[in-house]
């Protein structure tokens, strides 16, 4: 049973190095420290195992999260229609292509992409939440809403032009701030 746990350690460390999202890497490191402290226990060293559990799975996790706070987060809302079959497994090909290229853009600009699939109305998202991009899908094209003061927008347009052609065309809409909202 020692060999199985050592195999798990190798797989987890490679996964923590190769993943794109930094929050997933924090979770992989938590599992890694738990597994390695069990290996210490099997080698008759319970004191080392206690120290590894305290430091590795609690203090290191909190420190990594505090450090991730300095990292900018790029929030992308994906608005779904009511009638669609709503699970991540059923997403079709052209949706995944756009989302993947957006994630690649965020990795290039040193941003952390956070994609939220939501059923709310467009106005609700505009007024209630903080957003960077809102993606909505129509019959013939996909529209990307962005605030007109978003300073990443020029870089995003340049990046999407250089990508290989999309199956469905996209359109970027710049939103103006409504004056009544500013008053509130």
């Amino acid at each position: 049973m020692l060999e199985l746990t050592l195999l798990l350690l190798i797989v987890l460390s490679i996964a923590a190095l190769q993943t794109r999202s930094l929050r997933n890497a924090v979770i992989y490191l938590g599992v890694f420290s738990l597994a390695i402290s069990f290996v210490y226990l099997l080698y008759h060293a319970p004191d080392v195992a206690i120290a590894e559990a305290v430091i590795g799975s609690t203090i290191a996790t909190i420190l990594y999260l505090v450090a991730l706070q300095k990292y900018k987060i790029f929030t992308i809302y994906y608005r779904l229609q009511d009638s669609e079959v709503e699970d991540t497994h059923y997403f079709s090909r052209y949706k995944l292509q756009l989302v993947k290229s957006l994630e690649k853009f965020c990795t290039k600009q040193e941003l952390e992409a956070q994609i939220i699939y939501s059923l709310e109305e467009l106005d609700d998202i505009l007024t209630k939440h903080q957003y960077a991009l809102i993606i909505e899908e129509h019959e013939a094209f996909i529209s990307i809403y962005a605030h007109h003061e978003n300073y990443m927008l020029d870089k995003l347009e340049f990046f999407l032009d250089n990508e290989p052609a999309f199956i469905r065309p996209y359109r970027i809409v710049k939103m103006e701030e409504i004056e009544g909202e500013v008053m509130e």
Binding site: L12, R23, V26, V31, L34, A35, P46, S57, T58, Q114
Partner: protein, 83 residues
């Protein structure tokens, strides 16, 4: 008893596979919780096999610390990056 230890190790490997393939972030958190609680039971079984009662202190430490870690990560995600 030895059969129970082997079965629990194989089950925790399967939950680790859920952590690796999970489509969303919360699936991974769920898998982390499963691995932690299986590990606690595994330590209790090992302590029972070896007749060493000080190994149970480790199980207590695990149970309390995993609670802090997972709750911290989930609150961090819930507030979208601000504590």
């Amino acid at each position: 008893m030895t059969f129970a230890v082997f079965a629990l190790i194989i089950f925790s490997l399967l939950s680790a596979f859920r952590v690796l393939i999970g489509p969303t972030l919360w699936d991974r958190l769920l898998g982390l919780n499963l691995i932690t609680s299986k590990l606690i039971v595994l330590i209790i079984l090992v302590a029972c096999l070896r007749e060493e009662s000080f190994l149970l202190d480790m199980a207590l430490v695990y149970a309390l610390l995993s609670f802090i870690g997972i709750i911290f990560i989930s609150i961090y995600i819930q507030r979208k990056g601000r504590f």
